[in-house]
């Protein structure tokens, strides 16, 4: 039975409230059941000026009320007016958005298909490692310096305290430029075997204090195999000032290694020999694969050959002979230098098992670093 507005005889507040409650219940029931097609009829039934339910309520419950009940009835009818209007509009809105949503759903996509991507290029792992190292030292106040890859004997050897005919030259398998016989030894051209010549060039250009980092490509006459390449990269660093000590060398490198490999990494130094430093040292870091334990996954750690340590770089206090070549006063300044192979560090960081992968441009390898 559809709801109709009953005429009232009892206009007491209780009776008015009961009639309003009945109307409200009917409204709820009808609005819940209404369909999109019935929406207009629903609005008219409740709100049409001519004979809509609200109009009838006004007629029967307000105009038909006795004088003493007018105030009470007026208030009640007002409330019903607002309630019905709000409810009809809400019903309309609900129905509209439901239909819109249904339409949108009809256009739905398989959102689990892969997206359209423009591939980004990847930075070469060696360059990426080199930039990471440079950034650590830049933060410590080191400027970056570069130099030529084809150097003279003077910068690559002589000024670094490798005298002519010294056996230490044999440790750097050098590639020489042809046709240099007519020149004095120090002017003969060769491919730099380390980036140390840049340190000499920097010191010739600048008086102490100096903090400089020299990243770059170097060449040696090493046949290519899984661990050797005739082309590789080095980063060397130099700090010269008054009162720079061996303790500063150790502290600087220890800090840098913690920045590069994590704060739990330890360093240790032991004596070595380089013509351009005295004292000279090799530096090891605690193995980053087994945390220096020498054991991993219940077996010996292959990366550090169970020693718990990995050799990483050479360093030392700048030899006073070097200062003579660059016109620094060895009695008032002191300093340290260090140098590391970038490939070696990249190999370790990324677990690369063949150094040749760095130089053949295989995109399947390079893309892994994107």
């Amino acid at each position: 039975m559809a709801y109709t507005v009953p005429p009232l005889t009892d206009f007491s507040p209780e009776a008015l409230a009961a009639a309003a409650a009945e109307l409200q219940a009917a409204l709820m029931q009808e609005s819940a059941a209404v369909t999109a097609a019935e929406l207009e009829a629903f609005r008219n039934r409740w709100m049409a000026r001519k004979n809509g339910i609200l109009t009838q309520v006004n007629e029967l419950w307000l105009k038909g009320s006795p004088k003493e009940a007018k105030r009470e009835a007026g208030q009640r009818v007002n409330e019903l007016n607002k309630l019905v209007t709000a409810h009809v509009e809400a019903t309309e809105q609900r129905m509209q958005s439901a239909s819109a949503a249904g339409q949108l759903y009809g256009d739905h996509l398989d959102v689990t298909l892969p997206g359209t991507r423009q591939p980004l290029g990847a930075e070469h792992p060696v360059m990426r490692t080199m930039h990471e190292i440079a950034s650590v030292f830049r933060n410590l106040g080191y400027s970056i310096a570069e130099g030529p890859e084809v150097e003279t004997d003077f910068y690559n050897f002589e000024a670094l305290n490798f005298p002519p005919n010294h056996p230490a030259r044999d440790t750097q398998d050098t590639l020489f430029i042809a046709g240099q016989e007519g020149k004095a030894l120090r002017d003969r051209l060769l491919l730099r075997t380390h980036t140390s010549p840049v340190q000499i060039r920097s010191m010739m250009q600048q008086k102490p204090p100096i903090r400089v980092l020299c990243p770059g490509k170097v060449h040696r006459n090493d046949a290519a195999d899984a661990t050797h390449s005739p082309v590789f990269h080095q980063v060397e660093g130099l700090a010269v000032d008054e009162n720079i000590t061996f303790c500063d060398l150790k502290g600087t490198l220890d800090h840098a290694m913690k920045m590069l490999f994590g704060s739990s990494v330890k360093t240790r130094f032991y004596p070595s020999f380089f013509p351009f430093t005295e004292p000279s040292a090799d530096m090891q870091i605690s193995c980053i694969f087994c945390n220096g334990k020498g054991q991993r996954d219940g077996g010996p750690c292959r990366n550090c050959k169970s020693s718990g340590w990995i050799e990483l770089l050479g360093c030392g206090m700048v030899d006073p002979n070097v200062y003579n070549f660059v016109d620094y006063d060895a009695t008032t300044v002191s300093g340290f230098a260090f140098g590391m192979g970038v490939e070696r560090i990249a190999i370790m960081k990324y677990g690369v098992d063949d150094i040749q992968l760095f130089y053949n441009g295989d995109v399947r390898f390079l893309e892994q670093f994107a």
Binding site: G121, A122, E149, L175, P230, K250
Partner: protein
């Protein structure tokens, strides 16, 4: 170098295990690279594989390392004092004369003579020790010299005295035409720079490198001359290099042997031969000194130790370290006067002594500290430009690659007009030249990928190229791009699009965009390694900053590349002459823009390429012309309405004023001017 810790312990009493000994030696600069179990001999069951640095020839033997152990653990080093029989007749001469004619090459030559030996195998104890170091025992006399080498480190030689004509030793330079058959059986032609040991007639040994074949000890030998000498490092080194030889002896002489050890070494060899081969020592040692090698003491200041090492070492450390290593110390207030032992040719200066103190004290006993921050980091002049290009290349999808620096002679000619820089000692024929272009390497890398079934490749390399310029080298920075395959990958959402000339051009445009350009144009002047119809150069402010396009199909075919491949070369030396564009805000337009399309029919000539068309319109000087873009270009014959020999171009001009809304009449006027300019190029409006 192999070393037996057991043998080592004959000279020092230390209780530590071999493993600990190896570790602590390494940490104080006498590096034990590996410890390995040695073959069979129970007594010499462990061997240290040493890595002795080139400055420490004195450590390349057991006694030298024992000296390090003595300093390390502060224990005495037992002396080596050969026990020789008293000469029965002191006046009986050895019968041998020694003359050093070349005092530059040989400072000292000590000889000893033993007569009546019986050559045969060495006693087991000697042979076993040599075997444990992987040295084959030869005979008792030769083994005595080898044993002495590994024990005290001084290289010695034993001659069959009866093969030395005139019983004479002359140390001299070789004469033209002289030859010598060395112990290895090789007949060697000598030069006047070679230092030889000669008898009265002929060379019998290459000084400090190898003995002669004809005077070697054989089973027939009965009389022996023992040689212990000191040869000049550079002379030995040059000689060994010249003859392509490297021996245990040359290795040590090149690095500096002990001038003071010749007598001891000769006596030690004599002692061993007498014990194993019998015979009789004849005459006193013949010790010939051409020049003395005395070195002044060094002043070692505690203040300097502190300045370099950052730490004050106690006096007892000076005594322990330097004293045990054989240095003589005289205290002098806070300083020391230090006498240098004859075996330490590497120690010449105060800093060398400081190094000795630091290493034996232990590097890890020095605290870590940081030097003061001096600030003012200076970036490289081109750092920002480098970073800008790099960032764009990565964003454009190019993977960074590094190729080798060497190219073949053919590639050097094929890819650059420059005179290439040749290597004296190239690693192979294909790597004879320093690269004069990045393209050979780039093409190799593209081919590498394509041969492995990779469909799409985009690579860039930033690096140096080299050329010769008047006896000097000119080294410049370049970037190369390489691409093949798809510009847009196909898939479920879209069709694939092949990489084309305009993709590489777009990428080059994107790379040049950050640079301030008063003028930038592209034309088709490119090098011969490019496809003549599909390549261009970019000219920025009058300088050619890039060449790019499809690689000439013949050049690609030479590398067995069948696909179309595209490359670009950016000449950074020229590009970096230009400044980066400084970005400045321009007020956004308040008034609407007006677009006009022009559909034109042109004769198809060079003069009607887009660049001259564009330039002709720009020359009209219409300030409100914001943009002029080609919307469509149809070649003649592709559609019916465009006849052969002509082409149809649809241009879109956009006008806009910053001050006002444009009036219809003025736009019409500009449009007319454009049509007029086009008419001069032969273009007619299509109706």
């Amino acid at each position: 170098m192999k070393l037996s810790p057991q043998w080592l312990r004959e000279f020092v009493d230390v209780k530590v295990s071999n493993a600990q000994l190896a570790e602590e030696l390494t940490l104080t600069g006498t590096a034990v690279e590996n410890t390995v179990a040695a073959g069979d001999g129970a007594d010499y069951s462990m061997i240290f594989e040493m890595e002795i640095t080139t400055n420490r020839p004195d450590d390349m033997n057991h006694y030298g390392v024992a000296r390090e152990v003595s300093a390390l653990y502060d224990v005495p080093l037992k002396p080596i004092a050969p026990k020789l029989p008293a000469l029965s007749d002191k006046s009986a001469p050895s019968g041998v004369t020694i003359a050093i004619e070349d005092g530059t090459g040989c400072a000292r030559y000590t000889g000893r003579v033993i007569r009546g030996v019986k050559i045969g195998p060495s006693p087991a104890a000697i042979a076993q020790k040599l075997n444990s170091l992987d040295h084959r025992a030869i005979n008792n006399a030769a083994d005595a010299t080898n044993y002495t080498l590994w024990e005290v480190g001084h290289p010695t030689h034993a001659f069959d005295l009866d093969k030395l004509e005139g019983a004479k030793i002359i140390v001299r330079r070789a004469r033209d035409g002289e030859t010598l058959k060395t112990l290895d059986g090789v007949e060697r032609k000598l030069t006047r720079e070679d230092l030889v040991i000669a008898d009265a007639v002929k060379p019998v040994a290459l000084a400090g490198v190898m003995g002669g074949f004809d005077s070697m000890i054989t089973e027939a030998t009965t009389n022996v001359l023992i040689e212990a000498a000191w040869f000049e490092p550079v002379v030995v080194r040059k000689m060994a290099k010249r003859h392509g030889m490297h021996t245990d002896a040359s290795h040590r002489f090149e690095r500096g042997a002990d001038f003071g050890a010749t007598l001891l070494a000769a006596d030690r060899v004599a002692e061993l031969i007498l014990a194993s081969a019998g015979g009789k020592l004849v005459g006193a040692p013949i010790d010939t000194i051409a020049r003395e090698m005395s070195r002044p003491p060094i002043l070692l200041r505690c203040s300097e130790v502190k300045r370099i090492l950052g730490k004050v070492l106690p006096n007892r450390e000076f005594q322990r370290i330097l004293g045990r290593l054989g240095f003589g110390l005289t205290a002098n207030g806070d300083d020391y006067t230090v006498e240098i032992p004859s075996w330490r040719l590497d120690v010449e200066r105060e800093i060398d002594l400081i190094e000795e103190l630091a290493r034996v004290h232990g590097y890890d006993k020095f605290e870590n500290s940081l030097p003061p921050y001096v600030g003012a980091v200076v970036e490289l002049a081109d750092a920002e430009k480098d970073a800008r290009l790099r960032c764009r290349l990565l964003a454009l999808g190019y993977n960074e690659a590094i190729s080798l620096t060497f190219i073949s002679s053919a590639d050097a000619v094929g890819f650059s007009p420059a005179i290439p820089l040749a290597l004296e000692n190239p690693m192979s024929d294909e790597a004879r030249m320093m690269r004069s272009s990045l393209l050979p390497g780039m093409l190799d890398m593209l081919a590498y990928n394509l041969n492995r079934g990779v469909q799409s490749v985009r690579l860039f390399e930033a690096g140096h190229v080299f050329k010769e310029a008047g006896g000097m080298v000119r080294e410049t920075k370049r970037i190369a791009l390489g691409a093949a395959g798809e510009a847009l990958a196909g898939g479920v959402h879209q069709a694939a699009k092949a990489y084309s000339f305009f993709d590489v051009k777009g990428d080059v445009e994107a790379l040049l965009a950050p640079f301030a350009a008063n003028s930038l144009y592209y034309d088709s002047h490119t090098a011969a390694h490019y496809h003549p119809g599909r390549s261009a150069r970019a000219v920025l402010n009058g300088a050619t900053v890039a060449q790019f396009g499809q690689v000439h199909p013949e050049m690609a075919a030479a590398r067995k590349i069948k696909q179309d491949v595209f490359v670009a070369e950016i000449f950074l030396d020229r590009l970096y002459q230009q400044n980066l564009r400084s970005v400045k805000y321009v007020a956004l337009p308040k008034y609407p823009a007006v677009e006009r399309d022009f559909s034109l029919l042109f004769p198809n000539t060079d003069a009607t390429c887009f660049e001259p068309v564009h330039a002709a319109i720009v020359r009209l000087g219409i300030a409100e012309l914001r943009q002029l873009e080609p919307v469509e270009v149809l070649a003649g014959g592709t559609v019916a309405s465009v006849p052969q020999g002509s082409k149809s171009v649809l241009l879109r001009a956009t006008f806009q004023s910053a001050e006002r809304t444009l009036r219809e009449e003025e736009v019409a006027q500009w449009a007319q001017a454009i049509v007029g300019a086009m008419a001069k190029l032969g273009g007619v409006l299509r109706s």
